[in-house]
Symmetry: C2
Subunit: 113 residues, 2 copies
């Protein structure tokens, strides 16, 4: 559930500009402001069900963009490389500095080629 | 001129899936296959001017997506960080390994936070 919300937040940050004003208004409250369905329903004076349906429909639109463009996946790959580098740095032993550098270099070169 | 083409190639690789089939056909030849306007005009049996106009129009569409979404810029930022890390590694002196690691760590942490 938490991962599903994280993915929705990320897809919204990637493709939100492609949505309609109405969709954007609700998704901004849901994703950026972390409002609940009930709170959004009060703010917009629409039913909780209508908020729920809008979010579900918008999620499909965002997933469609990701399926088409795959830019979130491409971006996540880079993030995973940065995380790997940080992990290598955190785990290294000072006697193996040269190896650490070689490993980092290998990861980075794969990203650049 | 060369940089303009590089940017067009990159934008096409990012947002090409949003184009029409006809635009895609011409852009694939121009960006991925590196065909000239003349060659594309022969292959598609249309005038060189028509190829030129299609590419110009498509470039505007791609720039519009980038203006809306800015994902190429976001992606390029990551690439620049990888390039900086590689440069640091290539320039380091073996007496300053600890400093090198600290510098890499700083760059990577900025990307992850």
């Amino acid at each position: 559930m938490f991962e599903k919300k994280m993915r929705l937040d990320a897809l919204y940050s990637f493709y939100g500009k492609m949505l309609t004003d109405k969709q954007n208004e609700i998704m901004d409250l849901f994703c950026n402001m972390d409002y609940s369905l009930g709170e959004i329903s009060e703010i917009n004076d629409i039913s909780r069900q209508a908020v729920h349906d809008t979010i579900k429909r918008t999620e499909k639109v965002l997933e469609h963009y990701e399926q088409q463009l795959g830019l979130y996946e491409r971006f996540s790959d880079k993030q995973r490389t940065f995380e790997k580098i940080l992990q290598l740095i955190e785990e290294y032993e000072s006697t193996h500095l040269e190896t650490l550098i070689l490993n980092i270099r290998e990861l980075v070169e794969k990203e650049i080629e």
